[in-house]
Structures are given as structure tokens and as C-alpha cells.
């Protein structure tokens, strides 16, 4: 699935607008635990505060996510990055780009995502839902839950092994969706 860089962004299609308005209403009634949406006029870019879950490495820490929706959302995945300073995590680069890997084979991770259960997926294919494995049934809510799950299951506060090289590569404002990922599944 090809995705263009975030700049310049085309305006949201009618379908995307309707869907995002519905997601916003649902969020206001039922926000995901640990997340807070910062209200702005901009439907196309959501800024979300993330609170690290208690009992995890990121407890009492706050970070910010920036979610940019493309013209053809939900047929196309949104771009999700952390606004620096990004959390120290083996799958989060210092520029905020996320490699959404779930090491749910780790028996310590009890935060099994509801979405995984619904989808009956093999856990390794959960890796790239923000990129190649996107489905229009996913929502900002479900993405946030996945991200929190990824944070909570981390066993070390460190940058990815190839952090410096990756960040250098992205200097010209590249979208994480354009990057080819080496998934770190087998290294975790």
C-alpha cells in the first residue's frame, strides 16, 4: 500500500470527516484509559496525551502522540508519531517514529489487545498494523490501546539499535510510512 509523505496534506474526504467525527464523539463518551485528546479545531490532526500505565516502566510519565489522518482514511492508515521527547523504547526512534511491534509472545504481557482477539491473528502479524497490516476497522481508540500495550510490555528503556542511522535517514521530513521496517520480533 503506497502512502505519501505527510506534507503537503490533502484535505479529508467526506467519508473520512464523517468517520472521524463519529470517532471523536465516541472518544468523548468512552476515552481509552491513559489517553487524553487535546481539543482543537483540527479534525485532521489529533494531539493525544499518553500516560504510562501504573506498574510499568513508564508509570507517571506523560508523552504526546500526533496522529495525522490522510484524505482516504479509513481506507488508508493514519500517520502516528510521538512528539519528541519520545519515550525510551526499543521500538520508538528518537524522532518519534514508531515501529509498532507487539512482543505478545512474551508470557509476561497480560495486556492482550482486544483487537488481537477479535481478529484471531497470529501475534507476529500484529507487528505492522500502522503500515502494511492496516485495516479500516481499526480506530484511533484501538491504535492507542496497541501503543499503550507496546509501551507497557517493554522490559528496557532504550532506543532501537539502529536509532541514529534511522533518524539520519529521515532528516528530510520523511513519513514513517515510507520507511521499510526491519521488524525486531526475533530480537526481542
Amino acid at each position: 500500500m503506497t502512502s505519501s509523505s505527510a506534507h503537503p496534506r490533502k484535505a479529508l474526504s467526506k467519508i473520512a470527516c464523517n468517520r472521524l467525527q463519529k470517532e471523536l464523539v465516541e472518544w468523548q463518551v468512552n476515552p481509552p484509559t491513559g489517553f487524553k485528546h487535546k481539543v482543537t479545531d483540527n479534525l485532521q490532526r489529533w494531539i493525544i496525551d499518553v500516560n504510562g500505565a501504573p506498574g510499568t516502566l513508564y508509570a507517571n510519565e506523560t508523552y504526546q502522540l500526533q496522529v495525522d489522518f490522510p484524505e482516504h482514511y479509513p481506507m488508508e492508515a493514519p500517520q502516528v508519531i510521538f512528539i519528541p521527547t519520545a519515550p525510551l523504547h526499543p521500538h520508538i526512534y528518537s524522532n518519534g517514529h514508531i515501529c509498532l511491534v507487539s512482543n505478545t509472545m512474551d508470557s509476561m504481557n497480560q495486556n492482550i489487545c482486544v483487537i488481537c482477539l477479535m481478529k484471531k491473528m497470529s501475534f507476529s502479524s500484529f507487528s505492522d498494523i500502522l503500515y502494511d497490516s492496516w485495516s479500516p476497522a481499526m480506530t484511533v481508540n484501538s491504535i492507542c490501546i496497541s501503543i499503550l500495550s507496546m509501551l507497557s510490555s517493554s522490559t528496557a528503556k532504550q532506543r532501537p539499535a539502529d536509532n541514529d542511522q534511522y533518524v539520519k535517514n529521515c532528516r528530510n521530513g520523511r513519513s514513517p510510512k515510507e520507511t521499510r521496517w526491519w521488524f525486531h520480533d526475533d530480537k526481542v
Partner: protein, 280 residues
């Protein structure tokens, strides 16, 4: 045969006139387009498309009585013309014949979905139908509200009289006034419940598509047992991948079937809760 070739010459000429009309239409030269279509109709009066094309021009000029005439003629020639039923519906709505107009729009929608469920026409027809249905509901529900309110006030008055409270100061608390308060509250509950259906609320999840997050219009079900909005799941299969968006099982267009039970459930819900027709 001479007559045959004369007929086919007329048909050819009519077709050329139609093409001319289309070009004028694209340039917003509706008068010229009407003239071209009219000539085509004179030559070949039994081609439904000439009538609907002309109706389209009348519509652009808001000449609704002519729209109605031309559409009715087109329908006589072709019962299944989507455009004819659609524009006839719009014309009837303009005349405030809401019930008839809605019927025609519904017919156009059903025909349109049969032909091209993903087309822009289907969406446009739905928007107009939803608007009309919403207006019908608004009208009926304000009448209901008003009647309910009058009845409620009459009942409250009767209740006061029952407890002979008209002569007493308001804050005089005795057994009688306490009993009155209780019954008054119960009465208000009853009326609240009676008017519940007309109060806009949230459409239940099970009547909504998991992709559009909106109430179903034309639901189809996949082999995994999940129901989606037809136009959207078709777009997903084409643009995103050939898999069920929720279960990720492989999925092909040919495996989608109309979910008739949900369709009926949605219709029943909308009949009772017309506020849900409102599109923002």
C-alpha cells in the same frame, strides 16, 4: 427497405442531437441543451434517455413541473430508470407531496443499488431521501410532542385538583402534599418514557457498520459473520486488500451477501427513531 432506413437515419440523427445536448449541458448552456433534446425526442419519442436528459436540464433551471412531466414520460418507457424515479421524487418533494416523493426516491435507491451500489448516484439519492425522511419525522414528532405536552399539563392540573391543593400555600407539607409530589413525579416519568423515541440519542452499535461507524444503509455479511456497509467493504476489497477487515480471513466480493435481517432491523429502528436520518 426505405422505411427501415428512414427510421435508422432518424435514430442516428437523434443520437447526434443527444450528443450535442450533452455538450451544451456540460457547458451549462441549458436552454440549448433542452432544444437539442427536444429535437431528439421529436425524432425518436420512445427513447427514455432523451426524456431524462431533458429533465436534468429542467432541474438545473428549477423548472420542476417540467421535470415531473419528462420523468413520468421516461418511466412509462422504462420502469427501471434510476434517474427518472430520482428526479420525479425531487419534483414531488418540491410540490410538498412528501409521501409520494419519498416513495419515488426509495424506488430510485433500490434500483440504483441493484445497478451500481458504489456509484455516486446511490449516495446522492440516499442523501435526498434521508433529508426528506428527516423532515417527515420532524413534522410528526413536533405534533406528538405538543399533544403529549398538552396532555401532561391537563394531567398535572387534574392531580392538583385531586389533592385540593389549589387553595393551599405551596410549601405546606402534609401527608396529602407528599403523596401529591410522589404521584407528580411518577406522572412525569410516564410522560418522559412516552416521548422517549423522539429524543435524539445514540444509534445502537449492532445497527452500525464497524468501518463507517454509521447506521447501516445497505448491509452485507461476510463468511466470518461480520456485517459491513456494502459500498465501503467493496472499496476496502479494492483499495486495501482482499481480507475481512475485522477477522482478517480472506475475503472476496462474491462472498458478500445482503444481511436482510439487519436491513429490516435498521428500517424498523428508523421508522421509530426518525431523528437518526439526520446527516450532518
Amino acid at each position: 427497405m426505405v422505411l427501415g432506413s428512414a427510421l435508422s437515419a432518424a435514430a442516428k440523427q437523434a443520437e447526434q442531437l443527444r450528443k450535442d445536448g450533452n455538450i451544451y449541458f456540460k457547458k451549462d448552456r441549458f436552454g440549448a441543451a433542452i432544444d437539442a433534446y427536444t429535437e431528439a425526442i421529436t425524432l425518436c419519442p420512445n427513447v427514455p434517455v432523451y426524456w431524462t436528459n431533458r429533465a436534468l436540464c429542467h432541474r438545473k433551471r428549477n423548472d420542476w413541473s417540467k421535470v415531473e412531466e419528462d420523468c413520468r414520460r421516461a418511466i412509462q418507457l422504462d420502469h427501471s430508470s434510476v434517474k427518472a424515479h430520482y428526479m420525479l421524487g425531487l419534483a414531488l418533494l418540491k410540490k410538498k407531496e412528501l409521501d409520494e416523493g419519498v416513495k419515488e426516491l426509495q424506488k430510485a435507491l433500490d434500483l440504483g443499488r441493484g445497478a451500481n451500489p458504489k456509484g455516486y448516484m446511490v449516495d446522492e439519492i440516499w442523501q435526498e431521501l434521508a433529508k426528506a425522511k428527516y423532515l417527515l419525522w420532524e413534522d410528526a414528532s413536533s405534533k406528538r410532542s405538543w399533544e403529549l405536552q398538552s396532555l401532561k399539563e391537563a394531567c398535572e392540573t387534574a392531580l392538583r385538583e385531586k389533592y385540593f391543593l389549589d387553595d393551599q400555600p405551596e410549601d405546606f407539607l402534609d401527608e396529602g402534599s407528599i403523596a401529591h409530589m410522589k404521584q407528580l413525579e411518577a406522572l412525569r416519568q410516564v410522560f418522559r418514557k412516552a416521548g422517549e423515541a423522539d429524543v435524539p440519542a445514540v444509534v445502537p452499535d449492532y445497527l452500525c457498520c464497524k468501518i463507517t461507524l454509521d447506521i447501516f444503509r445497505d448491509p452485507v455479511i461476510t463468511p466470518s459473520g461480520v456485517t459491513y456497509e456494502r459500498a465501503v467493504i467493496l472499496e476496502h476489497l479494492q483499495k486495501v486488500g482482499k481480507f475481512d477487515p475485522i477477522t482478517r480471513e480472506p475475503l472476496d466480493q462474491s462472498q458478500l451477501f445482503p444481511n436482510l435481517a439487519i436491513k429490516e432491523a435498521v428500517q424498523a429502528y428508523l421508522d421509530k427513531h426518525g431523528w437518526a436520518y439526520k446527516m450532518d
